[in-house]
């Protein structure tokens, strides 16, 4: 589903080159739930933005759903983002001017879908996240957990091949975070491929597989003392 091979991302200024990702490799199979973990500045978010075609990469190869995305133009990348990828952001990223229904509808409109089909998908997605009764509410009228559920509904409505979640519970209290995590697990059980970026080992532990990034490279957790210490601390805490 998602395969990066020797991928690199370099940010260049006149005086310095900074590798956000270096010789990075990952292979996510269809139906997997993968957590990408790592400390701040390790390159997790860069990985996510490249995986979601929000940014281009400098070198290497990236195959998404069997398509080499390196040569795609901006329109083609937009189309893939719209049709194959569902995003769940830490800050929810709902559009504050639009109500719940209209927020979920936005990506479907860009797909040029007919109104009747859009409505059906929106209702299905909102029922799936338990917010079918809040159609006319604006984001500011919802709790953080509810906003994240709307964001998940927006991601699900387009029936994406891949869900990318960036710290999906990072802005939520424990109870709300648990609810959102359970929802993601339910969605995964129904067959969705999910890649979740998190720095929370507890959340990462609920994924099928963890990929750890340090200094822009995938590392084996067993050989990384820092992770061992963090894991030990979290298991005792």
């Amino acid at each position: 589903m998602l395969k990066m091979t020797h991928l690199s991302k370099v940010y260049r200024t006149e005086v310095v080159e900074t590798y956000a990702l270096r010789d990075f490799n990952i292979d996510v199979k269809e139906g997997e739930f993968v957590a990408v973990t790592g400390p701040s500045g390790s390159g997790k978010t860069t990985f996510l933005t490249i995986a979601g075609l929000l940014e281009t990469f400098t070198g290497g190869e990236y195959m998404l759903d069997g398509v080499d995305v390196s040569g795609l133009n901006d329109n083609a990348r937009s189309k893939i983002r719209n049709e194959k990828i569902g995003f769940i952001f830490q800050a929810f990223n709902l559009i504050p001017d639009l109500n719940v229904f209209d927020n979920v509808e936005v990506p479907l409109r860009y797909r040029g879908m007919k109104a009747a089909e859009r409505k059906q998908r929106i209702m299905d997605a909102l029922e799936r996240v338990g917010l079918a009764s809040r159609l006319k509410h604006y984001p500011a009228e919802l709790s953080g957990g509810q906003q994240q559920r709307v964001a998940i509904a927006r991601a699900l409505a387009g029936s994406p091949r891949l869900l990318l979640a960036d710290e999906p519970t990072g802005n939520l209290d424990t109870q709300m975070a648990r609810g959102v995590m359970e929802l993601l697990e339910d969605i995964h059980r129904e067959g969705a491929t999910i890649v979740m970026v998190t720095h929370d080992p507890e959340l990462a532990a609920r994924a099928q597989r963890n990929v750890h990034i340090i200094d822009g490279q995938e590392v084996d957790i067993a050989e990384e003392p820092r992770f061992q210490a963090e894991q030990a601390a979290s298991s005792h805490g």
Binding site: R81, D97, L98, Y110
Partner: protein, 403 residues
């Protein structure tokens, strides 16, 4: 199209939207009426005047001796006719587009309810031919009618015949039977209409309402001190030479008179100086108004693009192409401008009613409204294009940034 969500978004920003809508409405109202008035003024510049303008020069004389004028005029005319290239010369009391020598209330009888104001042209013998009046019905004055008509009885000629313009004839006798009728001037004097000419502009007609700009009556008059205009006819290419020669000739014959010669083209040009200036001022007002409106749209659009940068990034992240973003902002602008235009149409109508009531402007023809609407739509789209292009270049990765 994203019209419904865009309306929803605009609804959340009512105050700035209302302000820009009001600005556009005001611009629409001013623009439609100003363009209409400019059109009226431009039409006035080309006001019809059925005389041989391109053949005529006019020498105005002041300070003639009233005691000798009746003898001097035939002498002066003979001298002017002797200038090489001159094909005719005559005297008048006033000329089209020149200074008025009198306006009378005319009617079909003492009891008539219709008595429009008409300008009085008194012509010396040969005047109709020199002017090139186009007779539509009847006849010109005969030599005896000139001789019999003097001002010895007062301000009005004591003759018995007149020629009137077609517009005045239709105003007074709409059924079309002006010839042979009695034209009353005031309630005491009346004259038989012996001819109807194509429309000749009135003196000062640049400031007279369009409906009555051609209401004129021609009286025959024997040589009289009231004649202050020598009209000299020649081929157009000889005008300047004839003008200088005629001025020189009259200077020689009457050294004490103040003499000023002009071609008729110069007279027309001067008559519409104020009209032209007014038209240019209105053009300037329109340009300033539209520029201010365009800057208002640019300012608001730029502000909204900056304010919604993250929102644009989110839209890009969930699948919007650059074209989608561009179209969103252009559509948003179109909707705002359309609201402004809708309000502006009502305002235009109101402004026009006010101008009709207080400044005798005609009703605004409906086709000025779509012209105004198209202009504002175009300006709106052009003004919003820069900020919209800027918005379309916001990268999708902005959605992942917290600041």
């Amino acid at each position: 199209m994203d019209i419904a969500p865009i309306f929803a978004s605009l609804h959340k920003h009512r105050t700035p939207v209302a302000l820009i809508v009001l600005e556009i409405a005001l611009a629409c109202a001013v623009f439609c009426n100003a363009v209409f008035i400019i059109g009226q003024r431009v039409a006035e510049l080309g006001m019809s005047n059925a005389i041989a303008e391109s053949h005529l020069v006019v020498i105005s004389v002041n300070g003639s001796n009233p005691d000798t004028a009746r003898a001097d005029i035939p002498r002066n005319l003979a001298a002017l006719r002797g200038i090489p290239g001159v094909t005719g010369a005559a005297v008048m009391t006033s000329i089209p587009f020149g200074q008025s020598a009198g306006v009378d209330g005319v009617s079909t009888g003492p009891d008539s309810q219709v008595h429009p104001g008409a300008s009085r042209y008194m012509l010396g013998e040969g005047g109709p031919r020199v002017l090139g009046l186009r007779l539509l019905k009847g006849r010109f004055f005969g030599p005896g009618e000139y001789a019999d008509s003097t001002l010895r009885g007062g301000m009005m000629p004591n003759g018995h015949v007149v020629i009137i313009t077609q517009s005045l004839a239709q105003r007074l006798w709409p059924s079309g039977h002006a010839l042979g009728q009695q034209l009353w001037v005031g309630s005491e004097k009346h004259y038989a209409v012996i001819g109807v000419t194509a429309d000749v502009a009135r003196p000062g007609s640049s400031s007279i309402g369009r409906g009555s700009a051609h209401y004129a009556v021609f009286f025959p008059l024997a040589p009289d001190p009231a004649f202050t205009q020598y009209v000299v006819r020649s081929a157009p290419q000889n005008r300047q030479r004839v003008l200088h020669a005629a001025e020189a000739k009259l200077h020689t014959l009457a050294p004490n008179m103040v003499i000023k010669g002009q071609t008729f083209a110069q007279i027309r040009d001067q008559a519409f100086t104020a009209t032209r200036s007014m038209a240019w001022v209105l053009v300037l007002v329109c340009l300033v108004m539209l520029t201010v409106t365009a800057f208002g749209i640019v300012g608001l659009s730029s502000f909204w693009v900056r304010q919604r940068r993250r929102q644009i990034g989110i839209r890009r992240a969930i699948g919007a192409t650059r074209a989608n973003i561009l179209r969103y902002f252009q559509t948003e602008n179109f909707l705002i401008v359309s609201l402004g235009i809708a309000l502006g149409m009502v305002l235009s109508w109101g402004v026009n009613l006010y101008l009709m009531k207080h400044y005798e402007l005609p009703r605004l023809p409906w086709h000025y409204l779509p012209v105004g609407a198209l202009t504002l739509w175009l300006i709106g789209q052009l003004a919003a294009l820069g900020p919209a292009l800027h918005a379309s270049r916001v990268p999708p990765v902005v959605a992942t940034r917290s600041v």
